[in-house]
């Protein structure tokens, strides 16, 4: 049972960054702009979030108010991502450039910038920004004592618990409400489906698209920090392709927030099974095959592909995504 608790808790901690970044991508695509740059945005968010956490750690203030510091770090990561994403918006909305151009440029810029900045701050060759040890939410955060022999629930809850988890779940709830129950959400979706029609009834398409990309930057930055915290070995100027996975999760989730949540959990579960193979008794071990763990590491990608092949006939991407809106072309 302990293994099950560990697997479930690891699944959630890896699903959280996927979920929030995929939601960000959804805001952007629902407004009509494909955001290939999510990977880069995550890196920039994680970079500034981690730098803040380190500064808080050095001053001693962070260890005294750990969760407040994490909250601030989340805000800073989101803000950094938001500012960075505006570059994409300028290129693909105002300048009407092909949306892959801005995205590729941002994806290339972010890791290089992170490495150069880390070098400049920490000295040559020092490429890892460590994460302070006071970040996780533990029993003591609530004034409780950790039990000697933690049960299923305690282990599930406190093995990998960070402030990012409740915040991202809150973002999910807010997103469902905003997209489907508010005037803003309806207008945002209309800009991604038929911007000419939206424009004809007085909606400022450019403003909504800018807002969509900015929200994706905000959520992407938060997701970058959530990923780095979950990975646990410090920030090394990379998010290991999670920005692209998030894009896949968003398509898998059919641009629908609740389905994206399901897709993120699904993908994360198989990812975790891939890395826990040794401790799961009922999985075949492929005796006689060297490095058989690669088989399990392929699993999440193969399973996702199979599911996509069966579900994509009904796939409904926003109709006008990827096409720069030009007022003069009605």
């Amino acid at each position: 049972m302990i293994v099950v608790a560990d697997i479930l808790s690891a699944t959630i901690i890896f699903a959280i960054p996927l979920l929030v970044v995929a939601l960000g991508g959804m805001y952007s695509e629902r407004s009509g702009t494909i955001n290939i740059a999510l990977e880069g945005i995550m890196i920039i968010g994680a970079l500034f979030g981690c730098l803040f956490l380190n500064a808080a750690d050095k001053s001693g203030w962070g260890a005294k108010n750990p969760q407040l510091a994490v909250l601030l770090a989340i805000l800073i990561a989101g803000l950094a991502g938001l500012i960075f994403s505006i570059l994409l918006a300028i290129a693909s909305i105002s300048l009407k450039a092909d949306q892959t151009i801005g995205g590729t440029a941002l994806n290339m810029f972010a890791p290089a910038f992170a490495i150069v900045l880390t070098w400049a701050i920490q000295g040559q060759g020092q490429t890892t920004i460590g994460i302070p040890s006071w970040i996780p939410i533990t029993q003591s955060t609530f004034g409780m004592k950790a039990s000697e022999d933690p049960g299923f629930f305690e282990r599930f809850l406190f093995k990998n618990f960070y402030l990012t988890t409740p915040i991202v779940l809150l973002i999910l709830v807010v997103t469902v409400f905003v997209i489907y129950k508010t005037r803003f959400g309806l207008r945002l979706r209309s800009c991604g489906e038929h911007p000419q029609a939206a424009d004809s009834v007085g909606i400022n398409v450019y403003r909504y698209r800018y807002t969509g990309v900015a929200i994706s930057g905000l959520l992407g930055g938060i997701g970058g920090l959530a990923f780095t915290v979950a990975a646990g070995s410090g920030f090394q100027s990379t998010v290991a392709g999670y920005g692209f996975f998030a894009l896949a999760v968003m398509i898998f989730g059919n641009w629908h927030p609740v389905r994206i949540f399901g897709a993120a959990l699904f993908f994360a579960l198989f990812k975790v099974i891939g890395s826990y193979t040794g401790s799961i008794p009922f999985l075949p071990s492929f005796k006689g095959v060297k490095s058989a763990d690669y088989i399990y590491q392929m699993l999440p990608y193969i399973v996702t592909m199979i599911v996509l092949i069966f579900t994509s006939k009904k796939s409904r991407a926003p109709k006008a995504e990827g096409i720069p809106y030009d007022k003069s072309k009605r």
């Binding site: 290939i36 440029a105 290089a112 690669y294 996509l308």
Partner: protein, 371 residues
Amino acid sequence: MKNRLKGVLTSPGMISFIASVASIAIGLIFGYVLLVCFNQAQALNGLGKILFAGASSAEKFSKVLYQAAPLMLTGLSVGFAFRTGLFNIGASGQYTMGTFFALFAGLTLKCPWWVALIAAMLGGAIWGAIPGLCKALFNVNEVITSIMFNWIGMFMVNLMMANIPTMLANHYGAPNADRTANLAAANKSAIIPKWGLDTLFGSDYINISIFITILVALIIYLVLNKTTFGYELKACGFNRNASIYAGINAKRNIVLSMVIAGALSGLGGGIYYLSGTAQYTIVKSLLAMGFNGIPVALLATSNPIGIIFSSIFVSYIQVGGEAMQPEFAKEIIDIIISVIIYLSAFALLLKGVIKKIMSIRKAKQGEGVSQ
């Protein structure tokens, strides 16, 4: 009338050229500002290295060409798919698969180099065909399939290499089992011939691969611009519905375009790892060469002839970036390239403005004639 046609035909090329040069200049200035920010005393020296290190010696220049060859092919791969309206972000996986096929042919089957290169194209083509088929038959977005198959390809190649002892270095007396065998020890005939270029340049890195890749670029140019097939592919890229209406089989073209793009990337992997100077190391991250094809293609606006130059340019300043260490991180080069690509978005705007000005002027001239 003839003159006017000539003017229209020559001017857009000229405009793109001017715009590209301007973007490169601004990117380099941005890079210089970064150098000044991080280490003022060494900044000028660093910029000098970026600009001139690649041409400072015959050995350095052969390294430029050595890296430019695979980069040109992944760039062509991405650019070719772009022309058909597809975003081939899977060049990395196709490149890895091509590498595996080439090395399997060279190391285990003991084939000569040209057979191994054909095998590389086959491997890449298979890995490119999958996203193409998924898109054509099941309507799965090619971006997501390509991303998934980058990772599946990498893990699968690692798995297969670990289980084929004749491919690994320790089978041929070397101590390490985490990389493929040195071709010089395993099968000399699989090394791409050098035709005496190595003595001319005084470097082991140079071989005939740069000529092969330039030839491939020219063939791709001819296919895209002088054949019905190329026309159909481009028509699909411009407007898929219109091309279907005109009787073009769009699904077939999507698959074929991805197969060719995959074969190009796969050939890139073969070219790089059959040079005799590189050994594939079993790693758990995607190879950067595939992703670097995207900026190469974008810099050249997916024009095959342009890709010849953009790949050599990117490789040139990358060699400069390596020479810049340890005073500066070589990643500054990536920043410069990303700025240049970003500016190409502005270049499109610039082109539009220039075109508008010219058309207004032409319209005025036209009025003058009629009066």
